[in-house]
Every structure is written in structure tokens, then in C-alpha cells.
């Protein structure tokens, strides 16, 4: 008898099967994920969790008898009062007495199972794709890195290739017939032995030989600068997928907490999304009233501020940061602006020009999210009144710029809007030079 402890064996034997299963049921799982995401808080999105898909797509059919119809025999335990020949009214629902034939298989119920967080997010983002992701910029954006490239005879001591150097020294010593320490030692012993018997020709000869060898040893050092080799590195440029995300937000008094919350959710979605697509994503927060400032996240969302509203100030700030830190040839730039739509009347033209001439050409994508208060939706009867900023941006959009705009009043609308803004648009691709 053998007892084998298998507990330390690597687990996850079923992983490959699970991936096959997910691939198989992908369409249904995706639908389920989308639905789940709609119901959930966005802060919960990264959590993964249970989804339910219709059993139909992953059914494993077989030839089996249908549970209904036909003559059925039931052998049941626990008879209390029946005698042969008794008749029993059929129980409602048409089933047999007690159980049906018991081969109804896995039933027609929905199939529930849990997705991991990674799987959930991947599926969640699968059918979205940033519009100009395949832009040639992505391929040409390059960063310099170092790569090992053989050995060199010069270099800094930290890069000394010890093994290679010692190998060179060894082969040099062999080639130059540098005497081995053992040989010298043997010779010395022999001399010492002969010395006991007094001088002789042999001794003289040996002494001379020893002298010769010692000289040779000195002439060919054990290790020589010639032997040294250094690990060589060469610079390579590799394409890098990095993106910067600009969050622009109006923080003037007219923006309520509710509106900021909406904006925050949108930014979070965008962030999750970008981190999936790019190896490295940076975020820049710019808040503005009548003047704009780059701030950290906490200040961005929580610190109160008062003042007027001049949108172009934020755009200028963004322009400055872009030129200083994020040259468009190295960075994929995404911008999302959230505002309640107010802008000072004389700023509209300035903002439009700035956007058209400077910001939009540098951006991969510019999303404008107009947040409204919850009760805005009550006034459904009114003709939708367009805010100042909306009107400004609308003209840009009509010109065919890569700007997308939506209005959101409630947080359950965030996700659909996000989807809509970032869905694949193969048709539009041709427009960008």
C-alpha cells in the first residue's frame, strides 16, 4: 500500500477546461456581464462575481426519453394504506406518484457560476474599443531600453563577466605554457632532496630550470587585463503603449456633489478601461473655476472652490501640461471633461478655437460629459434646453472632430453612456489622417 500526499501538487488542473468553457459561452456570458454591470455600482465593477447565463448555449444534449407521456412504472417504498388494485388520483401537475422517472437531466434552469475579477473585467471591456487605438502612433511610439548584447573588452567593473574572463585567462595560461604551481612545487622538493646529497650537475641543472620557470611565471601573470570581458548592453527602442488621461472638471459653485459623483464614476470607468489597453496609464487632474489648476485626486473631488466658470482656462492648462510633459508623439492622450454646462458667455469662441486647433489634434479622444442633477429628468415636458458649453461643442462635433458628448443625470446612465461613447467605430477610422 502506498500513501501519496498530493496536496502540494499544483492545482488549477481545470483551468484549461474553464477557459474553453468561457470561450464557448462567450456571447452569453458577455450579455450577462453587461447586464450585471448595469445593475452594479461602478465601484464594484472590479470585483467579479456571479453571473447567470441561460443553460441553452452550454447544453450537453443526449438521446434521452422525455419526462412526460408514456407508461411509467414506479416502485416506491413506504406503502401505508394501499392494496393491490387501488387507484389514486393523479397529483396535480401530471407528475407521477412521488418522483418522475428521475432522468430529467440537468433541467432547463439557468446556469449560474462565478467569474473571477480578471475574467469579469476582460469580458466587460471586450466589446468596447477605443476609437483610434490602432492609430499608427501606437506602433511608432518607442522608448529606449537596454538589451544584453554579447561581451566587450571594455566596460564598468559592475558588468565584469567573471566566468568569461576566467575562461580567457585559463586558455591564455595554457597557450603560453605558464608553469603550473604544482610543477614548481615538485621541482623545489626535488632540489631540496638533492641538496642533502651535496652539489651535483643534476642539481645545477634543476636550479636553472626552476629559475627559468619562475621567470616565466612572472612574465605571464595569472590574470591579465587582456583577459577581462564585460557584459555588453545595447540600447534598443521598443514600442510602448502608454497613455495619459486628463480629467477636466468644473468645480464652480454650480456643481453639486451629485454631479461630481457622476463625473467620478465616469473617470473610474475610463481609468479601468485604459489600464486594460495600455501598459502604463497616468492621470492628470485639472479642475477649474475661472482659473484652472492641476491638483491631486483628493483635492480634485473633495476640496470646495468658488468662482466663475471659464472653460478655456482648463484647456490652456491642459495644453501647457501636454507640451511640458506629454508630447503627443510619445503619449496616447485621452481627455474627459465633466461640467454642468455653464461657461461665461464670452469664453465660448476662445474654448472652441483652443479645442479645434490645439487640444483635439493632440488627443486620441476627447469626451465631454455633461452632468445634470437628478431632478432634471422630471422636466421631461420641456424642450431640452442646451447649455452654453453644449452649444459650443456641438459646432465642433458637426465639423467632424473626434469629440464625443453625452448628457447624464443618474448614475445608472453612466455605463450605457460610456459604452456608447467608446464602442467600436470602424467606419470613422478613415477620417483621421
Amino acid at each position: 500500500m502506498y500513501i501519496i500526499d498530493r496536496r502540494l501538487n499544483p492545482g488549477g488542473k481545470s483551468l484549461a477546461n474553464r477557459q474553453r468553457f468561457l470561450r464557448r459561452a462567450k456571447a452569453q456570458i458577455q450579455r450577462a456581464v453587461r447586464q450585471t454591470a448595469g445593475e452594479r455600482d461602478i465601484t464594484d465593477l472590479e470585483r467579479g462575481g456571479e453571473v447567470t447565463i441561460p443553460a441553452d448555449g452550454v447544453r450537453e444534449p443526449s438521446f434521452r426519453r422525455s419526462g412526460e407521456g408514456g407508461v411509467n412504472d414506479h416502485i416506491l417504498p413506504g406503502n401505508k394504506r394501499f392494496v393491490e388494485g387501488d387507484t389514486i388520483d393523479r397529483p396535480p401537475g401530471g407528475g407521477g406518484g412521488g418522483s418522475s422517472a428521475g432522468n430529467s437531466g440537468e433541467g432547463e434552469d439557468d446556469f449560474r457560476f462565478a467569474l473571477s475579477r480578471e475574467e469579469f473585467i476582460d469580458l466587460f471591456l471586450e466589446d468596447l474599443e477605443l476609437p483610434d487605438l490602432a492609430k499608427r502612433r501606437l506602433a511608432t511610439v518607442e522608448v529606449q531600453g537596454m538589451r544584453r548584447a554579447g561581451y566587450s573588452v571594455t566596460g564598468s567593473p559592475v558588468n565584469l563577466a567573471l566566468l568569461r574572463s576566467m575562461r580567457n585567462a585559463l586558455s591564455r595560461r595554457i597557450a603560453m605554457r605558464r608553469p603550473k604551481p604544482g610543477d614548481l612545487l615538485k621541482l623545489e622538493e626535488e632540489i631540496a632532496f638533492l641538496e642533502k646529497d651535496g652539489e651535483s650537475d643534476k642539481l645545477l641543472e634543476l636550479r636553472q630550470k626552476l629559475e627559468e620557470l619562475q621567470q616565466r611565471t612572472r612574465r605571464f601573470p595569472y590574470i591579465d587585463p587582456l583577459d577581462l570581458r564585460y557584459r555588453r548592453f545595447e540600447p534598443v527602442s521598443r514600442p510602448v503603449a502608454q497613455a495619459v488621461m486628463f480629467c477636466l472638471m468644473d468645480v464652480s459653485g454650480s456643481m453639486t456633489e451629485h454631479m461630481k459623483d457622476l463625473a467620478k464614476r465616469f473617470y473610474m470607468l475610463l481609468y479601468i478601461f485604459l489600464t486594460r489597453r495600455y501598459k502604463h496609464v497616468e492621470i492628470v487632474f485639472i479642475r477649474h473655476t475661472h482659473e484652472a489648476k492641476e491638483v491631486d485626486e483628493d483635492t480634485f473631488f473633495h476640496s470646495p472652490e468658488t468662482g466663475g466658470t471659464v472653460v478655456s482656462s482648463a484647456l490652456r492648462e491642459m495644453e501647457r501640461i501636454v507640451t511640458e510633459r506629454y508630447p503627443p508623439e510619445n503619449w496616447n492622450i485621452y481627455a474627459a471633461q465633466a461640467s454642468d454646462g455653464d461657461n461665461s458667455p464670452n469664453d465660448g469662441a476662445t474654448s472652441a478655437t483652443l479645442l479645434r486647433d490645439v487640444i483635439l489634434p493632440a488627443c486620441q479622444y476627447y469626451a465631454y460629459l455633461e452632468v445634470g442633477s437628478d431632478h432634471d429628468r422630471m422636466q421631461a415636458g420641456f424642450i431640452n434646453h442646451k447649455t452654453a458649453l453644449w452649444q459650443t461643442y456641438e459646432t465642433l462635433q458637426d465639423d467632424g472632430s473626434n469629440i464625443a458628448m453625452r448628457k447624464v443625470n443618474h448614475r445608472r446612465e453612466i455605463y450605457p453612456v460610456f459604452r456608447e461613447l467608446f464602442r467600436r467605430r470602424d467606419a470613422v477610422e478613415a477620417k483621421i489622417p
Binding site: M1, A16, E50, E60, V71, G78, E84, D86, T87, A114
Partner: protein, 514 residues
């Protein structure tokens, strides 16, 4: 005195270690081989975690298996069920192989490990080694090697032909698994080891004899067709054929060799599991009876403590509980309960027969060698024959079994027979029939095909008791057959006695497989 008693215990408390398992195993082995006279394969006991148990569940308990999405699906179900606490996991899984592998869970208590070893490593093991069905149909020596071969073969196919192509064949083969077994011995017994060798040799032979020149030879004109008689044609194709997978593997005109090999692999595995489906009651009955005897003996000889014995009894009675038909927990007849009940009953008949027993079982009543009789039973019967031979009137009375007939033509259900003098034989016959797979599986056969003509494959379902196939599923499976076959397939549901046709399903192939 009490010191000695303490020392005789195999383990103390609930925790186990490998030393304890070894002691327990040795103690059980003495009882099992000595007193019960069991004959077992060498044992290999493997300790696994819950996670690994879930893995094992997903691949129908086998230690290694090829990859398929359906196993992923089962894993997902079990996993979410287990994580939410909706279901517990089995204490053990035992594999019919030589050596016999038993998986035991690490979280089992020492008592449970003892129970599991007695149940699986000796009870099931003895049954696997001795029952005639297992001897006939399974190859315990070769199964692990064959699974290894199957796994690597299928993954090589995936590399070569793509996951999708392989998946389609596997899907179809799985759907037909229940109709991919030979029910009667054929001329040559399947030997899994030689299966693998055969496949390898065939490939080597092909490589060695490959000559590109053959390809360039002009082909002769087609040989003149000889008009075969229908009879002869069917005989050549071995029709009618109830092993649909076998038929497709051998005769489907458009399958690639690797597709045939995959069908063959699934068929071999279905055949390997075929005996298990027919011996559920006996197999569990045998294992349960053995563990009960062994645990009782361990307790009698004071090798396990009273507490451990009570823990065992609690779990044992849970397993062998049979709710009555009007109990909300009733879910059919519990094979553990029926098997264990009948084994105990046989023991009673052998040792303390009543007059009734002497009349019903003259061969064994009072023979006093219960273990001899039981070993003979375990060797030579399957569920259906076992029940029709050995279900005693006393047990039927004890269970209060009755037979209820549900005929849609009648307005009411009819009590056909009960546990009385007039009913014993009829109840017993009806019950044993329910364990006959030939009766409970729909009887579907390949009836005819004209390979020289339109190649339309005709299947017949011989309808029993007017029970038709599940329509939706039948249509799906038929589609898969059509895809494998490459031409139209029709399934006729035929009344067995009159030949009247209830229903016809037709399916046309999608050209996806080729």
C-alpha cells in the same frame, strides 16, 4: 487494564497523520483479507485538498483526462455550489485501476479516513477486481496508460487541427456516449494497452511506407459495381448496430482518421464506465457492507474508540437512509440503502433463515457461510439480476414496497402490486427491470444506410411504453450525427411491437467538419 485498552486504539481524537493511516490500513487489511476473505488490487491512497477534489469531480473522477469545455462547465457548477456551501464534497473517489487509486480528502477526520479506506480501498476495490462485468469490459491495468494516451492524442490533434475542430468532434462523441457501448461481448476483447500500441504502430508503418510516387499513379477506373443484395449490404455493415459511435467510427464516409480516433477514444471510455452504470446498487452495497463489517469489528476489538464508532454510525446511517415516497426528501431509491439492506438480508438468510427464506432461497438459506455467498454474488451478478434473484419478501415488507402504474390512458394511477403474497414476485420483477440499462436507456439502432446511393443514414428508436425521446435534445444530437456522417440522417421512433412510426426527425449536415 485501562492502559492496555488505550494502547490498542489506532488513533486518538479527530486528527490523523500518515502513521495513523498506515496503522488503520494494516488493521483493516487484517480484517478484510482475513475475516471477510476479500481479494483486492494493491492499494494506492492519495490525500488531496478540496480544490483537487473539485478538479477530480470535473473530469469524471479520473486522475488525468483530455480537455473539453464541458468539464470546465461542471467545474464551475461544483465550484460555485461548494463555495456557497450548497453542497458538500464526497469523502472519497475511487478509481478502477491496478493499483486501485483512492482519493481521500485532507479535511476528513481520522474516523472518516478509516471509513473511507474500508469503503473504497477494500469494498469497491474487491468489487472492481472480481465482478464479471468489470472483468469483461474494463482493463484495470491499462486504463491509466490509455487515458494518458487519449489526453496526449487529443492535445496533439488540437495543435494540429485547431481547438474548434477537435471540440466539434468531442461534442458529438459526448452526446452519443450513452449509445457508444457494446452491450454484448464481441469476438475480441478490448485491451487498452494494445489499443495504444496499435495506433502508434499504424502511424510508424504509414511513415515508413510513405512513398510520394503512389500519389502520382494514374488511378484505375472505378471497379464495376456489384449489386449487393440489401441483406448482404446490411450484414457487411454489421447492421442493425446499436453502438452508434462504433458505427460512425468504422463507416462514416467522410471522417478523417484523427476524427475516427477521437470517436474511438470516447467510445473506449464509455465502455470503461459501462459496468459502473449497471452495478450501482451492488457496488455501493458491497462497499457499504464491507465498511460496516470492518468498522464494527474494529470497534469490537477496541481498535477504535466509542466516540469514533458513534461518529462512524452517524455518517453511515446518513448514507443508508431511505426516505419514504411521501417524504419531502424522497428522490428515488437510494442505491446505498438498497444495496446495504440486501447484503445484510443475505447475511441474515444464511445465518438465521425463516421458513419463508428456506422456501424462497433453498440454495443459501441456513448455509452459514454468509461471506462465501456474498462473494459469489458480488462476482456473478449485476443490479438487475441481483435484485431479481435476491430481493427477499421480508425486505420488501420491511421497505413496504409497492408498484404504481402510471398509464396516460387511465384517468387514475393504479396500484399494480404491493408487498404481499400475490405481489412479491411482481414488485421484484418491476424493480429489477428498472435497473436494467437495456430497459432504461432508449433503444436506438442504426437500421440501414445505402452507401452506394444517397447515403442517408436511418436510425430507429424502438419505443417502449410509448415513451418518446426528448424532442429538442434528440434534434440536437441528430444534428451532430449528421455532421459526423456528412449526409442526411433520419431518426424514426418506431413502436416496437407493431412497427408503427410515432415521429420522424430529420437532420442535414452542416459542412463545418470537413
Amino acid at each position: 487494564m485501562s492502559l492496555i485498552r488505550e494502547d490498542m486504539l489506532l488513533f486518538h481524537g479527530a486528527d490523523w497523520d500518515f502513521g495513523a493511516i498506515q496503522r488503520v490500513y494494516d488493521a483493516i487489511e487484517r480484517i478484510a483479507l482475513g475475516e471477510l476473505g476479500l481479494d483486492v488490487y494493491p492499494n494506492q491512497i492519495e490525500v488531496i485538498t478540496a480544490e483537487q477534489m473539485l478538479d477530480a469531480y470535473a473530469s469524471i473522477g479520473m486522475p488525468l483526462f483530455y480537455k473539453h469545455w464541458s468539464f470546465g462547465k461542471h467545474f464551475a457548477t461544483h465550484e460555485s455550489g461548494y463555495r456557497q456551501g450548497l453542497m458538500g464534497l464526497a469523502y472519497e473517489i475511487v478509481i478502477n485501476s491496478n493499483p486501485c487509486i483512492s482519493y481521500v480528502m485532507e479535511e476528513n477526520s481520522a474516523t472518516m479516513q478509516t471509513l473511507v479506506i474500508a469503503h473504497a480501498a477494500f469494498g469497491h476495490n474487491h468489487f472492481f477486481k472480481n465482478n464479471y462485468l468489470f472483468k469483461e469490459w474494463t482493463d484495470a491495468d491499462g486504463i491509466l496508460d490509455y487515458l494518458e494516451f487519449a489526453k496526449s492524442y487529443i492535445s496533439r490533434c488540437e495543435e494540429r487541427y485547431g481547438q474548434n475542430a477537435v471540440e466539434k468532434v468531442l461534442d458529438a462523441a459526448h452526446a452519443l456516449m450513452s449509445h457508444g457501448v457494446h452491450r454484448y461481448p464481441r469476438k475480441k476483447r478490448p485491451d487498452l494497452r494494445s489499443e495504444e500500441r496499435r495506433e502508434r504502430e499504424r502511424q510508424i508503418h504509414q511513415e515508413q511506407t510513405f512513398n510520394d510516387l503512389w500519389r502520382t499513379l494514374p488511378s484505375k477506373g472505378k471497379a464495376p459495381k456489384s449489386a449487393l443484395s440489401d441483406e448482404r449490404r446490411r450484414a457487411l455493415l454489421e447492421l442493425p448496430q446499436e453502438n452508434i459511435l462504433y458505427f460512425l467510427e468504422k463507416s462514416a464516409p467522410r471522417l478523417q482518421p484523427w476524427q475516427r480516433e477521437i470517436l474511438r477514444i470516447v467510445r473506449q471510455i464509455a465502455q470503461y464506465f459501462y459496468p459502473q452504470r449497471q452495478t450501482k446498487v451492488m457496488n455501493e452495497g458491497c462497499a457499504t457492507y464491507c465498511h460496516y463489517r470492518i468498522m464494527t469489528r474494529l470497534h469490537e476489538t477496541r481498535q477504535i474508540s466509542d466516540g469514533a464508532f458513534l461518529e462512524f454510525l452517524q455518517s453511515h446511517t446518513n448514507v443508508t437512509r431511505q426516505p419514504e415516497y411521501d417524504d419531502p426528501h424522497f428522490g428515488g431509491i437510494n442505491p446505498y440503502a438498497l444495496g446495504f439492506g440486501m447484503m445484510q438480508d443475505i447475511e441474515r438468510i444464511c445465518t438465521q433463515p425463516t421458513a419463508e427464506d428456506r422456501e424462497w432461497f433453498p440454495d443459501i438459506a441456513g448455509c452459514d457461510d454468509a461471506m462465501g455467498v456474498l462473494r459469489d454474488v458480488w462476482t456473478n451478478y449485476r443490479d438487475e439480476s441481483f435484485i431479481s434473484q435476491f430481493l427477499s419478501p421480508q425486505l420488501m415488507r420491511q421497505w413496504r414496497l409497492f408498484h404504481l402504474l402510471d398509464d396516460p390512458d387511465r384517468p387514475e394511477l393504479l396500484v399494480e402490486a404491493i408487498h404481499d403474497e400475490r405481489g412479491y414476485r411482481r414488485v421484484r420483477r418491476a424493480l429489477s427491470r428498472q435497473y436494467d440499462v437495456g430497459w432504461s436507456d432508449p433503444d436506438i439502432q442504426v437500421a440501414d444506410v445505402d452507401l452506394a446511393g444517397d447515403r442517408r443514414l436511418i436510425l430507429h428508436h424502438h419505443v417502449l411504453n410509448r415513451k418518446l425521446l426528448h424532442k429538442d435534445d434528440a434534434q440536437r444530437v441528430l444534428q451532430m450525427i449528421a455532421n459526423l456522417w456528412g449526409y442526411d440522417v433520419v431518426l424514426k421512433e418506431v413502436e416496437a411491437s407493431t412497427g408503427a412510426i410515432f415521429q420522424e426527425h430529420v437532420s442535414h449536415p452542416h459542412e463545418t467538419l470537413f
